[in-house]
């Protein structure tokens, strides 16, 4: 007894002292999240996860290489705790949940008044519905009666509300509903849903190229549920911070309030909730479906690639991104200047995407550093080519290669990467698009004395965003409209000295509907500038096609604009396992277009990986509108002023690259959200009397 006690006492003390001392002596700093994560793993060091021990697994989780559910022993609680530390969702088995797509409820007018019927099914059979809206909920609660688990009830607005905690995904409600309003879907199905002609959609949601459920997130914002709002956006758009800053918001063009007065400032509301998340200090968990074990290579880490990778990852595939530039982001990092989208914001947003467990390899160029052959050998089963459009068009005029001439995207990109560019004192930027505006505004911030925009049509035809044009006007850019450059003239040292242009006048409308500019004979004019930047559009750089020695590469068809030939409904290229998205599929377009097509290509890739036929979405609403939802007048509105975007005064802008546009303050955001009519197909909340007027 005594020797045993002494022995154990001794050995315990020695071990304890050695360990506690060495933990002090050999202390090394490491990411504190590793220790936090490790504390929540089972710590059995069993190796069941495939990593070398719990600390290695914790490190892998923190570095985004493993899922929070990596531990094979850990229970759900542990997994959730880890997920919380990492700001991603637990990603356990994907369970289907009931999901109600109609939030119109009793807002739509009744079409039939027959008080005796209290069953949706009977109502649908007898009258084909109760309300004027052909797709909306009838609100008689067949689904509620069908639910065995008490998970459904008719909410205050007359449509069924699902309690996710109680729902088991049995599907009884879906069977009971005669209108396909309530659907039992998994997360993956919801993520891969595209707008269809029979959906209950507001005009803005139909217009948004990313198909974000706009009324839903504005409603959530209004209720103060900012996190839920961000989650709603992330169902369709992985880059709310970037889009909230740079999107030209086509959605606002179709806003019903915009028919009577100024449209709701949808994009600013998106930016408000996105900024709220970023400034809150913690990431909102992003749900991912369980791993499928399939591997996809995404080439190009721009908005299209990121979007495709994000959605593929969320539906459970393993995704690796290959990027030629030193960092991810593509055109939104290298083409959009800091004052519009700060790199810090972009870094934060991209990190959140990578944290889902997406690996990124930067500084590797497709066709040079790796090719189709090496991808196939590494086990990738599908490839997304989202290489963007980085090749500037040439003006095709004499003197274009002189010292002092630049090309738009090339100039912005080189500047973004920190390259020292020899600047002149004055500059002319040729072109009327967003890149041209980006160039002039950047040049102003670099201290140039005089910057011109030379455009061959007038201000009305400029394709750049209106806000951008206004901002550049405020900042003192001089516009030279109706001018077509004819040559660049050098001084004695071979440097740019003047730009010669021909004056134009507007003639008959051309195919694009804009009036064609016609040159005026003998109107050559000289403009004294030391720099000329041509920003007249870009096309994809398809040099990889010749560089990659893989024999199948010859089968990849390109269009005459150098974009990758594809079926726009499925984005599949001429080689079946290659898909495309973004600018390399369509030619230069909006960021939000790229995001939408990234998700669309993710859907096609998913189908392809599952071995199902890659077919277009049935009854797709892509680029179309539901005719009955487009109104010409919207009665019942009180005019209220649209929230004005806060911005930094012009005199403070020009000496740095500081972000110009600011986020709405909370009260202004709420006020703006109140302006949303929460439209659906037919119904909307008029400013007067809802829901009291309808309840009677």
């Amino acid at each position: 007894m005594i020797p045993a006690l002494l022995f154990m006492l001794g050995i315990g003390a020695v071990c304890g002292i050695v360990l506690s001392l060495s933990s002090k002596v050999f202390y090394v700093y490491e990411d504190p999240r590793i220790a936090q994560v490790e504390n929540n793993l089972a710590a059995a060091n069993c190796g069941g996860c495939g990593y070398a021990g719990c600390s290695a697994a914790a490190e892998a989780v923190v570095n985004g290489l493993a899922q929070p559910s990596v531990c094979v022993i850990s229970n759900q609680e542990g997994v959730e705790a880890v997920a919380k530390i990492m700001g991603v969702d637990a990603g356990a088995a994907e369970s289907p949940l009931s999901y109600n797509i109609c939030e119109g409820g009793n807002r739509a007018d009744d079409k039939y008044h027959y008080m005796g019927i209290s069953s949706c099914k009977a109502m649908a059979a007898v009258f084909g519905g109760k309300r004027v809206c052909g797709v909306g909920c009838m609100g008689l609660g067949d689904c509620v009666k069908a639910c065995q688990f008490d998970a459904l009830e008719i909410g205050p607005n007359g449509y069924p509300v699902v309690d996710d905690d109680k729902c088991v995904g049995c599907g009884a409600c879906q069977l009971a509903c005669p209108k396909d309003i309530i659907k039992v879907t998994t997360l993956s199905e919801q993520l891969m849903k595209f707008n269809q002609t029979q959906d209950a959609l507001a005009p803005c949601a139909q217009t948004c190229p990313a198909e974000i459920n706009i009324p839903r997130y504005i409603n959530q914002l209004r209720e103060g549920k900012y996190k839920e709002a961000v989650q709603t956006i992330r169902m369709r758009n992985p880059l709310p911070l970037a889009c909230g800053r740079v999107c030209p918001h086509p959605c606002e063009d179709e806003c019903r309030r915009g028919i009577e007065e100024e449209a709701v400032s949808i994009n600013q509301l998106k930016r408000f909730v996105a900024d709220y998340e970023m400034n809150s200090g913690s990431r909102i968990p992003i749900k991912c479906a369980p791993d499928t074990g399939k591997k996809v290579a995404v080439i190009g880490g721009g908005p299209a690639g990121l979007s495709c990778a994000f959605f593929l990852r969320r539906i459970g595939h393993q995704v690796d991104i290959f990027e030629a530039m030193p960092k991810l982001g593509g055109i939104i990092r290298y083409g959009i200047p800091e004052y519009r989208l700060p790199k810090k914001v972009l870094d934060w947003e991209i990190q959140g995407i990578l944290d889902l467990g997406i690996k990124a390899f930067c500084n590797v160029r497709f066709g040079v550093d790796f090719g189709l052959g090496s991808l196939m050998a590494s086990g990738y089963e599908a490839v997304l080519l989202g290489v963007g459009a980085w090749e500037d068009y040439s003006l095709g005029i004499e003197g274009e290669d002189l010292d002092g001439c630049f090309k738009g995207i090339d100039f912005l990109q080189r500047f973004s990467r920190g390259e020292k560019i020899k600047l002149g004192r004055t500059a002319a930027v040729v072109g009327g698009g967003n890149s041209a505006i980006d160039c002039v505004r950047t040049l102003l911030r670099l201290g140039l004395e005089k910057v011109y925009i030379v455009y061959r049509r007038t201000r009305n035809e400029m394709p750049a965003n209106e806000v951008e044009i206004v901002a550049s006007e405020e900042e003192g850019v001089e516009f030279v409209f109706l001018a077509a450059p004819t040559q660049v003239i050098a001084d004695d040292n071979g440097k740019v000295a003047q730009l010669e242009y021909l004056k134009m006048e507007l003639g008959e409308p051309d195919a694009s509907g804009r009036r064609r500019p016609v040159p005026i004979e003998g109107s050559e004019t000289l403009l004294d500038v030391e720099m000329v930047i041509s920003a007249i559009g870009q096309s994809p750089d398809a040099s990889f096609k010749d560089q990659d020695p893989h024999p199948r590469m010859t089968e990849l068809e390109l269009t005459r604009w150098n974009t990758i030939d594809n079926d726009p409904a499925i984005l599949q290229a001429s080689i079946p396992y290659i898909f495309t998205a973004g600018d390399s599929a369509t030619g230069p377009a909006l960021v939000v277009d790229a995001i939408g097509s990234g998700r669309r290509s993710a859907r096609s890739i998913d189908l392809f990986l599952k071995g199902e036929p890659v077919e277009p979405v049935k009854d797709s609403l892509q680029k179309k509108r539901i005719p009955e939802s487009i109104f010409t007048k919207v009665p019942g509105l009180k005019k209220t002023a649209r929230a004005k975007m806060p911005e930094i005064p012009v005199d403070q802008r020009l000496d740095s690259m500081i972000e110009v546009d600011l986020v709405l303050p909370e009260d202004a955001a709420h006020k703006e959200a109140e302006r949303c009519l929460n439209c659906c197909r037919l119904c909307y909340n008029p400013d007067t009397g809802f829901p009291i007027a309808k309840a009677n």
């Binding site: 002596v25 202390y27 090394v28």
Partner: protein, 191 residues
Amino acid sequence: MGDLFVLAISCIFINNILLAQFLGCCPFLGTSKKMETAVGMAMAVVFVLVMAGTLTWMVDTYLLKALDVEYLRTVSFILVIASLVQFVEMFLKKSIPGLYAGLGIFLPLITTNCAVMGVCLININEEYTFVQAVVSATAYAIGFGLALVLFASIRERVNLARVPKPLQDTSIGLVTAGIIALTFMSFKGMV
């Protein structure tokens, strides 16, 4: 010397710790998915096993047997091994980061590796001398590494094959291990 050689051969091949004695199976399956991991793990096991084998032999001979408390062997061995591993890990991390990067991350996995504890116990049960104990620990560790690396290289190939769904992953891994074990059985006639 000849005896030690025979001992080493029998520990590496005939009584291979993984395939004949079933010790250390968890990391065998866990760390064999990638070749890199397998090599790192194998190195770390050699490293720790030799140290642990030596240390526990000394604890047993000079403390447990001397005090006549041999029944405390299990408790004291595991405590010594766990502390040793943790100590070595902290030491490497601070002092030799290069080595730590290579095999340090595998160290925690070894605490609960029954191969380490098992070999230490075998050394005592067999009443090996100090030299024999060191040789057997080294040889068992090499045997572990050999089996692990062999297995990992086969597994990397198997991953590329079309395996029926229910058989995938661990299941086919175990069957593969069985076939390797079958080949190792043929070493039995060697000594």
